[in-house]
């Protein structure tokens, strides 16, 4: 005979709201909650308790410099300018080349070097472009009848891609979608995003390795700002060809 709590996930919910479950338990809870009103009610009442826990901490005030730094950063962002306190690389470079003779000589060398590199790159790009078409990866959720879908367009060099998603559910303010590049057991974050009211979003995808070196791409629901490894339900995935 199976006990009532074995059929539901009631015993796992306290740890679920604290994020203390392993991935297997987590997925079991997520799947069960989707179709069980009784467990949803239990979850909501426990989540309210978890939401209050930060208020029970012993509180300390941050040093005054944190607010000063924050407000300066915000002010500069609003004004569209940044005023770094130290000299930038370019400012230092400007001082070195402030003498006319050094500047003229360096400029000539620089022009010759840049033009050679540019010509070499153009030749290489042209030959590669003629051989490799752009790759289009379709993203779907094969496990549900969701209408959400996505498309990843990888450039002919395999270095960069444009991701477009459609009909993804708008998430709460505490969550975002996170993109993962998948290779064997490795999961590399390729960015987080939110969708608009219509469920649309677009994102430039880049990684330290060419995108075509990965086997697949996945999108999961994660806490706002993203996670180090996937923790939430995967909503879309697609296979990257080679």
């Amino acid at each position: 005979m199976v006990a009532e709590n074995d059929l539901h996930v009631l015993d796992l919910l306290p740890a679920y709201v604290l994020d203390a479950l392993n991935i297997g338990e987590f997925n079991r809870v997520v799947e069960h909650l989707a179709g069980c009103a009784a467990c949803q009610a239990e979850y909501l009442s426990l989540q309210k308790i978890a939401d209050e826990l930060p208020l029970a901490l012993r509180q300390s005030a941050p040093p005054g410099r944190v607010k000063a730094s924050l407000m300066q950063a915000i002010h500069e962002r609003k004004a569209g300018t940044r005023h770094p306190t130290g000299l930038t690389f370019w400012q230092k470079l400007g001082r070195i080349f402030s003498r006319p003779l050094i500047t003229a000589g360096a400029a000539l060398i620089l022009i010759l070097a840049v033009s050679n590199v540019w010509l070499l790159n153009q030749n290489r790009r042209l030959s590669e472009l003629s051989n490799q078409p752009w790759q289009v990866v379709t993203l779907v959720n094969p496990e549900t009848s969701s209408s959400a879908s996505g498309i990843l367009i990888i450039d002919s060099m395999g270095q960069k891609g444009t991701l477009l998603v459609d009909n993804l559910a708008a998430l709460g303010s505490a969550q975002q979608y996170q993109v993962w590049l998948i290779r064997s057991s490795e999961r590399v974050s390729a960015g987080v995003f939110s969708v608009n009211q219509q469920g649309h979003a677009s994102l430039i995808i880049q990684a330290s390795d060419p995108l075509t070196n990965y086997e697949a791409i996945g999108i999961s629901v994660e806490p706002f700002g993203g996670s180090i490894n996937p923790t939430g339900a995967r909503v879309l995935d697609g296979t990257i060809g080679h």
Binding site: D11, P14, A15, V17, L18, D19, A20, L21, N22, S45, L46, I49, A50, D51, E52, L53, P54, L55, A56, L57, R58, Q59, S60, A61, P62, P63, R65, V66, K67, S69, L70, M71, A73, I74, H75, R77, K78, G172, S173, A174, S194, P223, F224, G225, G226, S227, I228
Partner: protein, 190 residues
């Protein structure tokens, strides 16, 4: 304009319209909370300062995405702070010994008097309730709940850090959360 009487939600609406004074007011209200969440997780004042600034910069960028129907502003802020801190904690720590969470004793609560505005009175009332409820938990349950929530540790990681069987840790977390809910459903201290 006097921002101190505005609700948290109104401040966020103003922040969404690039009102720096509104952000300043929100920071004054909740920087202690955000910094304390970060400090509890990271045990490093410099990293906690970084998280605090980062959280409010995100608020500046994402204020328009906040939905009051999905929760309170203070919950949103502490959630961002907790996840950002746990991410940093996981990157910087390789072992889980000597980890603690500094719950505030209800007797020592540093709460201001003379609240003229609704948000301040509400915050004080909620702080008193949850601090009282946490103070009623056995120390083992309090520790397990805190390590899971603020340090982002899983059941096995907590068991390893405390040197306790896995089943014991699971039971402590379950009983701790259930007791907190029971306490908060019953009469609360005013």
């Amino acid at each position: 304009m006097d921002y101190s009487g505005l609700s948290d939600e109104m401040l966020l609406r103003l922040i969404a319209h690039s009102d720096e004074s509104a952000l300043s007011e929100l920071y004054d209200r909740y920087s202690r909370l955000v910094y304390s969440v970060a400090l509890n997780t990271l045990s490093d004042p410099a990293q906690a300062e970084e998280v605090t600034q980062d959280v409010f910069e995100r608020v500046w960028e994402k204020a328009q995405t906040f939905s009051a129907e999905e929760g309170r502003v203070v919950t949103w802020l502490s959630s961002i702070a907790r996840h950002r801190s746990i991410d940093m904690f996981r990157r910087s720590r390789t072992h889980h010994e000597d980890l603690q969470v500094a719950w505030q004793d209800i007797e020592l609560a540093d709460l201001r008097d003379g609240h003229n505005v609704e948000w301040e009175a509400d915050l004080e009332r909620r702080q008193k309730r949850i601090r009282w409820a946490v103070s009623q938990l056995p120390v083992e349950q309090k520790m397990a709940v805190g390590m899971a929530f603020f340090l982002g540790l899983s059941h096995p990681e907590i068991a390893q850090a405390l040197g306790e069987p896995l089943g014991t840790v699971k039971t402590r977390i379950r009983l701790g959360m259930q007791k907190l809910r029971l306490l908060l459903q019953d009469e609360q201290p005013e």
